[in-house]
């Protein structure tokens, strides 16, 4: 669909198409990207927008993801709004540059299509790739479906470029499940997106040659720490900005976003916490259990960096039991990354639910409603007064024994 969108409209799009449409409407000055399954379609579609003159973007078809991120950082530092996109091994090859983008405070926005990491090589969804980058200094926003991918990407530009933040943002969706699944997506008019994202802001543009400046110097024991402290503060400040941008976005789209979505949580006694597309399946299971009178709920995390610890703790501390579903392992014996974060957030709560971890869906292994129902029943039992201890803390869901 390589045409302009003049009024709000609904289109049947894959997640990749929705991401590419958002990029077309954002209309960045520079895109430097390298194709990788399952992100390839984004790069291809965006290239057609460039070829057909639908965007003002200078497209740099780089020779690797390392160069994709390097060129994107260079362009953003030069004074241009710059984007790229990747998955899995591509993100892994960018690793060095992820930290540099965050440390240099360039507000790059990147769609990231979640895919398992080698070895063995696998092209399907899990969250090992973005989870490995969770401490790189990037903000991370996870999307449940194509609509959220579209909405999150547009908001990410405003979040990244806000003067209180100036940090890169990766917006993720689940590989194939969302990237290649077709859904109805509400698109905003091009004009509305353009007005929403506005002009690009970077305080130290290299191309402002009347004010020469040095970016990326050597900072040693006497200054490095202060720059890292600034970075930590910017991530803190991003919390307010994320909410303010969401509020403004709700006004133009009618769709409202927060740090997370609480589903059937008002009177819930036990719940699961999930990321990404699994939330859709889990909501279906919870609806069924609710009809049978079960007091269960779901929390879908949208913003993983910054992690909304205090807000989650307030929501979850009254529960009897909690299961956290991770589509990645830390290989630390302590559970998956989402589990570790949620459990840490609850540590200072006066009342704490019993907490277990499910690792599931690695390498695209299907997570069906029955598996989620089984997990919810285990969690319920854990919360009952007869329960004796917690049993295994880290459990593997859907793996053959």
């Amino acid at each position: 669909m390589a045409v302009a969108v003049e009024t709000q409209k609904t289109a049947a799009l894959t997640g990749n198409e929705a991401a590419a449409q958002a990029m077309r409407q954002i209309n960045p000055d520079v895109v430097a990207a390298y194709p990788i399954t399952p992100q390839t379609e984004i790069v291809q579609l965006f290239s057609t927008f460039v070829s057909d003159g639908l965007v003002k973007t200078e497209f740099v078809a780089v020779e690797s993801e390392h160069s994709a991120m390097s060129a994107t950082v260079g362009a953003a530092a030069a004074g241009a709004r710059a984007m790229t996109a990747t998955s899995s091994q591509g993100l892994a090859l960018m690793w060095e540059m992820l930290y540099i983008a965050a440390g240099m405070r360039v507000p790059v926005v990147m769609p990231m299509v979640n895919r398992a990491l080698s070895s063995p090589i696998n092209i399907h969804c899990d969250h090992s790739d973005s989870m490995g980058a969770r401490d790189s200094g990037w903000l991370q926003i996870y999307s449940e479906n194509a609509q959220e991918m579209y909405d999150n990407l547009i908001q990410a530009v405003r979040i990244a470029e806000h003067p209180d933040v100036l940090l890169p943002v990766m917006v993720t969706m689940d590989g194939f499940i969302i990237s290649h699944g077709m859904e109805n997506v509400e698109l905003l008019p091009d004009r509305a997106v353009q007005d929403f994202v506005g002009e690009y802001h970077f305080p130290y543009p290299l191309l402002d040659v009347e004010h020469p400046k040095t970016l990326g110097p050597l900072a040693l024991q006497d200054f490095y720490f202060e720059f890292k402290r600034q970075q930590a503060e910017a991530v803190h400040r991003a919390k307010n900005v994320i909410l303010a941008v969401a509020e403004e976005y709700a006004r133009i789209s009618g769709r409202r976003y927060g740090f997370f979505e609480a589903y059937q949580m008002d009177d819930a006694e036990y719940a699961v916490v999930v990321l990404g597309s699994t939330a859709g399946t889990a909501k279906y299971v919870i609806d069924q259990l609710r009809q049978a009178g079960e007091k269960c709920g779901l929390v879908k995390i949208r913003v993983f960096r910054p992690f909304p610890g205090p807000e989650l703790s307030e929501l979850l501390s009254g529960l009897k039991a909690l299961g956290i579903l991770d589509r990645a392992d830390t290989f630390s014996t302590q559970g998956g990354p989402l589990y570790l974060e949620v459990k840490a957030a609850l540590y200072h709560a006066l009342k704490r639910p019993k907490c277990i971890n499910y690792i599931y869906g690695l390498g695209g292994r299907d997570i069906d409603p029955e598996l989620i129902r089984q997990a919810l029943m285990e969690i319920k039992d854990l919360g009952s007064e007869q329960a004796d201890g917690v049993g295994p803390i880290v459990r593997y869901l859907g793996v053959r024994e």
Binding site: F202, E226, A234
Partner: protein, 126 residues
């Protein structure tokens, strides 16, 4: 290049902060991201104290060929209106390249041990 007013303000604030490089500046007072928002601040860092030998220039012998100016790695030779004025010892590390590239027949620069100038406060010669 067109800068937004927001960006201009940020830049202004950061440039003011960094006019005098404050070694004890806290993280709130430093420009973000490690950027040095000014040009050529290394001129505030004197490397002249590395020197153990010092170039001494003879204005009389100098033919103004500028090979010393060209090959000095520390930008220490001063040229004004195409005339060599002498050497600024603030940055001169005493490598001796200038004396070496000065044409043999001209021999306008000689290297002398720094100890010979112990009490000399003058930083510019010529």
């Amino acid at each position: 290049m067109t800068l937004s007013s927001q960006t201009k303000n940020l830049l202004k604030v950061h440039q003011q902060v960094n006019v005098n490089i404050e070694p004890n500046a806290g993280w709130r007072d430093l420009p973000i991201g490690g950027v040095i928002p000014q040009a050529g601040t290394a001129t505030q860092f004197a490397t002249g104290d590395w020197r153990t030998i010092r170039p001494v220039w003879s204005k009389e012998k100098c033919i103004n060929c500028h090979r010393c100016w060209l090959y000095c790695p520390d930008m220490s030779w001063i040229s004004e209106n195409g005339q060599i004025q002498g050497v600024d010892l603030t940055y001169c590390k005493g490598c001796g390249i200038c004396a070496n590239v000065c044409p043999a027949k001209v021999h306008a620069i000689e290297m002398h041990p720094e100890d010979n100038f112990k009490d000399d406060e003058v930083v510019k010669e010529g």
